[in-house]
Symmetry: C2
Subunit: 149 residues, 2 copies
DNA sequence: TTGCTTTGGTTGGTACTACCAACTATAACT
DNA sequence: AGTTATAGTTGGTAGTACCAACCAAAGCAA
């Protein structure tokens, strides 16, 4: 596992896949966390903005996307709403449900974050050739797509 | 960015590298978080155990590894110590410093976690051929190694 | 050597995350 | 209609992570 920055000591470039996946996850999450912090957001809030960028969801959908307790979502959305990042509105079809979607300000935030993230990732993948980048995208895609049918 | 599980809708398997990296990071982090939760740990505590698995560090080193505020580390280590996962001892060479290292129980925990993680990752990479797995490890390694010289 | 600065860690306080259990209200089922 | 299931909220707890303020040992300087 070895979540540290230097768990696989130099030399063995191929490393072990477990370490590589865990480490790249931590690196990416670290970057995302920093990115969020720079924009005065938490990682979870950043996720919410990202998810809502091209969707209008009910609370319960958001729960599915994030895999968190509903009370957690309530608080999350409430704080984000208070900050003007997103809006709540009753769902037209279901009297129990509440829809959530980005406000103007939230959308602007989300766009900026997406751009920043893109910049970070390209910096991270700079060391790879274009072919390698494609290859990496394909492999990760193949690994992940089974998870969301 | 699109941190969601299904941000890149079906079809374009190659996806876009940014999405793929972010998503695989979230998937991996999700698994790590679940793994940690099953063992009654937080993600950060799991990281600490992973880092200390083959090291004895001073607090300040731990700060570097985790990239968190020192007061955060103090609390983290204090709670883990109270739970018997790790030990604190004054550093022999520097009167100000405190060494941190795994207890027996902490070590056992860490081993178990490493095994569980390995199991999870292999399940995740099951869809890949052996050659693809190697390739993925190489690419991730190449991408990450520059970050820890 | 005495005094100033830097480094290593802790303490106290705040905001947020995330969980659980208990609750209200609408919807769906029989 | 009456029961059951679903959608969200509220209240309470533990943990994460930050900041500012602090103490003590170490390093450096005059």
């Amino acid at each position: 596992m070895s979540a540290s920055r230097r768990s696989s000591e130099a030399g063995q470039v191929e490393g072990n896949l477990i370490d590589m996946l865990a480490q790249s996850a931590f690196v990416t999450m670290g970057a995302l966390t920093r990115l969020a912090a720079e924009n005065d957001l938490s990682l979870t809030q950043l996720r919410v903005l990202a998810i809502l960028r091209d969707r209008r969801l009910r609370m319960s959908d958001l729960i599915d996307y994030l895999g968190l307790e509903k009370s957690t979502i309530t608080g999350l959305v409430a704080r984000a709403e208070k900050r003007g990042l997103l809006c709540r509105a009753p769902n037209a079809a279901d009297g129990r449900a509440i829809d959530v979607f980005l406000s103007e300000e939230g959308r602007a935030h989300a766009e900026r974050l997406a751009a920043d993230l893109a910049r970070f990732v390209s910096q991270l993948t700079d060391v790879l050739t274009v072919a390698e980048r494609d290859q990496l995208g394909i492999l990760l895609g193949k690994m992940i797509t089974p998870l969301h049918p």
